[in-house]
């Protein structure tokens, strides 16, 4: 009986299995559904009036999303959020910085501070804020049309910016290259925002202090701003009244600017320029040290320039090196020695100690007393770092995960004080 039932079951099963197969044999064509997804930058046209007439709003402290440049000024940290604004943190105690305010500035990239006046770009304009009381910040001046490179039509007052947009489609016409332009966000664009100015004091004016990947910098009562081609000079003798003076063409691929001893050291993708800024209103080129195409922040002391060359996407042919140049004759800088590195980014120099951000390979410190034989001191490999500022109270290290501060009084051992992590909102 059992056997009979089994046979019946098999018979039925065979019949039922055959039926769909007959249908399916007729439909043995492969099916392909293609989905194209890509990032593109959609142009966004803006009338200058729209942002000029809008109020610059000071908001309560916000979480960091994508920290850019950091500036130390007194007990305060100013951290730019590229394209969005500037965070202000009370850093009186580096072990527990407090988030104070957020200045909402659309289209901003950089900042610099001079005698209680904060300068920041706002698309084509330069803004000046009175920050004498960081809890009560006021906009005091708007210098218009000083960064005209993003104008699409200056007469009608139209600027163009590009917005990252994700496009997904199953339409074959939407294949890459058919429509829009692919996003081309270089790591130069991503990291020049991790910028800063060097420590410098001039006359009665007190300048803030930053790392080596700066685009705005202050020297001798002048504000210098570099974009990828030009150096723009502003007179800030009256801090509250910045005035555009002139611009100097620099070539291409300009990345960082570092002021030292009446000179401007400008890092570009092809080399390092030294400009004499003893006449601050009209800097003149002293020399141009050429190297292979690479991304290269610069820091200097009286005798030497420390330049990192790193391979990257925009610097495809680059190498990963720390180069030390003799700059005692600024008209004729000489390469003394190159040290191989992993993926060096920003640098910070404190006395005889050089701190070097090695990207995802961490943070390194070297004793550079003898530049011909620099000695590794410490390597913290679990902290991804991009730029370093040796501040008066702490060593500030910036990375994609946030901003950390270290006690660096003991040169051979960094001690972590605090970290402001990037928040996801």
């Amino acid at each position: 009986m059992k056997k009979f039932l089994q046979q019946q079951f098999m018979k039925n099963l065979a019949v039922w299995a055959l039926l769909p197969l007959i249908f399916l044999f007729t439909a043995c064509e492969d099916e392909v559904v293609t989905t194209y997804s890509y990032k593109t930058q959609v142009p966004v046209f803006l009338q200058v009036n729209t942002f000029r007439e809008a109020d610059i709003v000071i908001e309560p402290g916000k979480q960091l999303e994508s920290p850019g440049k950091i500036y130390i000024y007194g007990d305060y940290l100013f951290i730019s959020e590229p394209d969005k604004g500037i965070h202000i943190l009370d850093n009186a105690n580096p072990a527990s910085p407090r988030n104070l305010n957020f200045i909402n500035i659309p289209g901003t990239v950089d900042l610099a501070i001079n005698s209680n006046v904060l300068y920041a770009d706002n698309y084509v304009d330069l803004l000046a804020f009175d920050i004498s009381d960081p809890r009560d910040i006021k906009l005091i001046k708007r210098e218009t049309d000083v960064f005209p490179n993003i104008y699409s039509n200056e007469e009608t007052g139209t600027i163009v910016t590009y917005k990252d947009t994700l496009v997904t489609s199953v339409d074959a016409n939407m294949m890459f290259g058919h429509w829009g332009r692919p996003a081309w966000r270089t790591d130069m664009m991503a990291f020049t925002t991790f910028a800063n100015a060097g420590a410098s004091f001039s006359g009665a004016q007190s300048y803030g202090q930053g790392g080596s990947m700066a685009r705005f910098t202050l020297l001798n009562n002048h504000l210098y701003a570099v974009d990828d081609r030009k150096l723009r000079v502003f007179d800030v003798n009256t801090p509250a009244d910045p005035n555009f003076v002139t611009d100097v063409s620099l070539g291409w691929g300009i990345e960082t600017i570092f002021p030292f001893d009446n000179k401007l050291f400008i890092g570009s993708m092809t080399g390092m320029y030294i400009y004499d800024a003893s006449d601050p209103a009209s800097p003149t080129q002293m020399s141009n040290y050429q190297h292979v195409t690479a991304c290269d922040p610069v820091v200097v002391n009286e005798k030497y320039a420390f330049v990192t060359l790193r391979s990257g996407v925009t610097c495809r042919m680059g190498v990963d090196q720390l180069q030390i140049l003799d700059i005692q004759d600024p008209y004729n800088p000489k390469l003394l020695k190159s040290y191989p590195m992993e993926n060096p980014h920003g640098l910070g120099l404190s006395g005889e100690h050089l701190y070097l951000a090695e990207g995802k390979f961490g943070l390194k410190s070297y004793d550079v007393t003898n530049v011909m034989n620099i000695l590794p001191v410490e390597h913290i490999d679990d902290f991804r770092s991009v730029d370093i500022i040796p501040g008066p109270k702490s060593l500030i290290v910036i990375g994609p995960d946030g901003v950390c501060q270290f006690n660096y009084t003991q040169k051979d051992k960094l001690e972590k004080l605090s970290c402001i992590t990037v928040g996801f909102q």
Partner: protein, 201 residues
């Protein structure tokens, strides 16, 4: 995905070796072709499969299977579970049916990164394979089988350029933020299978 495939395979082996303790071992090994249509014509692809399992009773075998299918452009290793049934096992010729369900793994396909940094790779997918046919008993311990079936094999092909993010070690295909552009081909390979094989027990 590879880890998942390995884990699944290992668990299947464990399951069958444990509950197969008291049942007789059986092996179905088949070789044949997969016939299908692509956009510009027909394709005929080599296919090999072996099923290791137990004879539940005279009519039913059940086990885990692993195979090798050579499709145009990709070599797939399907594995999974399979059932085989025979209508009249005592007869010299009997109607025969089977059903395989599993995953077509891409362990033989490497991820390719081009000189320009473009990544391309396959991911496996669901495999379903019902068959019908005849079996010809030759000796006590070996039986020949001939079967026709329909094999449905899913797979996905990706071509993409990851973003220039020095912090990103492993771009994920499911995260659009990791890519400048990515093309995803969801492919269903539909074939008629024609196979010849042996049952050993």
């Amino acid at each position: 995905m590879k880890q998942l495939s390995t884990a699944l395979l290992l668990s299947l082996i464990t399951i069958f070796t444990s509950f197969g303790q008291n049942l007789p071992y059986v092996n179905h090994s088949e070789v044949g072709v997969l016939i299908g249509q692509v956009e510009d014509g027909d394709r005929v692809n080599f296919s090999l499969q072996t099923l290791h399992g137990v004879r539940i009773n005279q009519n039913h075998d059940f086990g885990f299977l692993v195979g090798f299918d050579r499709y145009p452009g990709a070599k797939i290793v399907p594995f999974g579970m399979g059932w085989r049934g025979t209508l009249r096992p005592e007869n010299k010729v009997s109607l025969f049916a089977g059903f395989d369900l599993g995953y077509g793994s891409m362990i033989l396909e490497r991820k390719i990164i081009s000189e320009w940094g473009q990544h391309s790779w396959f991911e496996g997918g669901l495999m379903v394979h019902p068959t019908v046919g005849f079996q010809f008993r030759k000796r006590e311990s070996s039986t020949m089988i001939f079967s026709l079936g329909y094999k449905r094999q899913g797979t996905t092909y990706f071509v993409g350029s990851p973003i220039n993010d020095p912090w990103l070690d492993f771009p994920s295909p499911s995260n659009p933020d990791h890519w400048h552009s990515i093309r995803k081909d969801e492919i269903i390979l539909r074939s008629m299978s024609v196979k010849l094989g042996f049952i050993f027990h």
